[in-house]
């Protein structure tokens, strides 16, 4: 079966995976700091950063895109949002946040080498 390498840059671990594997299947086992809540694409908690290889990830579904956008809005409105909100906000706006550099770990499948990190 075709293989791909997924590198979690926060813990410096690379996992050899069969293509089609979802990030959620391995991120916790390596101790990466990508956090989950609903695990089914609804809540947007598992949003992560694609450091390298975004072309090797599964296409964005309409649902994932919607959640990413909603999540973005939620962060902006949130009561106790991320500590570096402004940096994140700038990044989101500048870099086409939804779907390119940020994805949901519970949805995204890997089809080639990629480096990921918690947001």
């Amino acid at each position: 079966m075709a293989k791909a390498k997924v590198t979690f840059s926060d813990v410096n671990v690379t996992v050899n995976v069969p293509v089609g594997t979802r990030i959620i299947e391995i991120s916790e086992a390596v101790g990466s700091y990508i956090a989950y809540n609903c695990r089914e694409g609804d809540c947007g908690v598992c949003v992560f950063e694609v450091v390298k290889g975004q072309e090797n990830l599964s296409e964005l579904t309409k649902e994932e895109k919607a959640v990413l956008l909603a999540h973005f809005q939620e962060i902006l409105d949130g009561w106790r949002a991320t500590p570096n909100l402004e940096a994140l906000q700038t990044k989101m706006q500048r870099e086409n946040f939804a779907g390119k550099y940020c994805r949901l770990a519970c949805q995204t499948q890997v089809f080639g080498d990629v480096t990921v990190a918690p947001l």
Binding site: D10, V11, N12, V13, T14, V15, N16, V17, P18, T21, E25, I26, A29, V30, G31, S32, Y33, A35, L76, D77, G78, W79, R80, A81, T82, P83, P118
Partner: protein
């Protein structure tokens, strides 16, 4: 009783006393109630109302407001903070003074809609540098977000040198003498309010202080508690002290601190804690220290938690759970900001050892980083197991300073080892 209180010829307190309040927002205690401070500022071109009060106290607010201004004179309503204890009387005020314009911070816009559930709202969002003129009095806005909501701002009246600070510099303390030089001793309430409301946002406090520092200030008028007119800058200075990083290790970014809390019934978890500390200390740039939970209490440890880069908790498993003092320390994490700090758990156990996983789950729930599985050792650690502890400490230390060696694994092996660990766990 329902009289306004003069801060100056042009500025009146028109808030409300709530002496019966004992617990605020469920989590805060107050021995003598609180006040909701609202203010009126009069210029040659109309009146501004700065903040309102909790809905239940509206009667006091409107009575005092009517004593200082007619509704048709009100041109400006400023909301420094949208929490319902300051916006409860807003809908009624808008009804009585429909011509008044609302001024809120940029982050408050969506919140205001959610609060009033009205689509037809007319408001102006403002940020640092924006001003509104009342003729011979000018309101200047300061964008001071996250104190303690995203929407918070301060308003400064230039000609009066008065800072309307919102919840910043406030406290839950109800004393009808109102001014800090007249009321009873409220230092405890001021400190308590900072510790429970502002502390998790201390970086934002420091950012706000850089905006406040250049202003000449005669009076600080917060939304709760005494009005600070006697040496107001002492309170600014106190906020700076409380919010500044004090430890050499915090200022020196080249060193990371690891705090290891533990509690032990028969000394096994203590041995683990010491071995983990030794392992972590062997990593250059890591300063690891152990603290026995039994000899302190959760409130005392909050300082350690706030300033640590990594936090480990060691607890034995008793009756299938971590012990209460360990949970108390975990609960106290909410008093500061632990998000993305490195975390881990360990402990000795007799039969089943659930505690470590439970503590780890809680740490993940707090969005801490848990890069390695926690360490569980059955009963008394052997020399080999102590070596495991030292290795765990070393690896955690390496994660802390970011020098952990790269590792390559196959997914199948990774999942198999997890499955085995889970099976052992279930078998116990």
């Amino acid at each position: 009783m329902m009289q306004p209180v003069w801060l100056s010829e042009r500025v009146q307190w028109i808030g409300a006393f709530d002496p019966g309040m004992r617990s605020f927002d469920v989590i805060l205690k107050t021995p003598n109630g609180t006040t909701y401070n609202a203010y009126a500022v009069r210029g040659t071109d109309g009146v501004a109302v700065i903040d309102t009060v909790k809905a239940e106290c509206s009667e006091q607010f409107f009575a005092r407001l009517e004593a200082v201004a007619r509704y048709d004179e009100i041109r400006v309503i400023v909301l420094n903070h949208l929490e319902p204890d300051h916006t409860g009387a807003l809908p009624e005020l808008m009804r009585r003074a429909p011509q008044a314009k609302l001024y809120i911070s940029q982050s408050a816009q969506l919140m205001l809609k959610a609060l009033l559930n009205r689509g037809d709202l007319d408001f102006t969002s403002v940020t640092t540098g924006d001003t509104v003129s009342l003729g011979d009095r000018t309101l200047r806005f300061l964008h001071t977000p996250y104190l303690h909501w995203p929407d918070t701002q301060c308003t400064y009246v230039e000609e009066e040198y008065i800072l309307f600070s919102g919840d910043v510099f406030g406290c839950h303390f109800c004393d009808e003498r109102l001014f800090n030089d007249k009321v009873g001793d409220f230092r405890f309430a001021f400190e308590y309010y900072y510790a429970h409301i502002m502390r998790p946002f201390r970086e934002h406090v420091l950012e706000a202080l850089t905006l406040i520092d250049p202003l000449p200030i005669n009076i600080i008028a917060p939304t709760h508690g005494p009005i600070l007119r006697d040496r107001p800058l002492c309170y600014v200075q106190r906020y700076r002290e409380l919010s500044s990083q004090r430890l050499q290790s915090e200022v020196d970014a080249s060193e990371k601190t690891m705090v290891i809390f533990y509690i032990s019934a028969y000394g096994s978890t203590t041995l683990m804690a010491q071995a983990i500390r030794d392992g972590a200390e062997s990593v250059p740039g890591v300063r690891a220290s152990v603290y026995d939970i039994e000899g302190g209490d959760a409130d005392l440890f909050v300082d350690l938690v706030e300033d640590a880069d990594g936090i480990l908790i060691g607890t034995p498993t008793i009756n299938g759970d971590a012990v209460k003092p360990a949970w108390d320390v975990l609960t106290s994490f909410a008093k500061t900001n632990v998000r993305s700090k490195l975390a881990g758990a360990f402990g000795s156990y007799g039969w089943s050892g659930e505690a470590v996983r439970m503590v780890e789950d809680r740490m993940r729930g707090l969005k801490m980083r848990v890069p390695l599985d926690g360490l569980r050792i059955k009963l008394i650690p052997s020399e080999a197991e102590l070596e495991e502890c030292r290795q765990y400490g070393r690896q955690m230390g390496e994660h802390l300073v970011g020098i952990n060696a790269p590792r390559v694994v196959d997914m199948a092996d990774l999942l198999a080892s997890k499955k085995q660990a889970q099976a052992e766990f279930n078998a116990n």
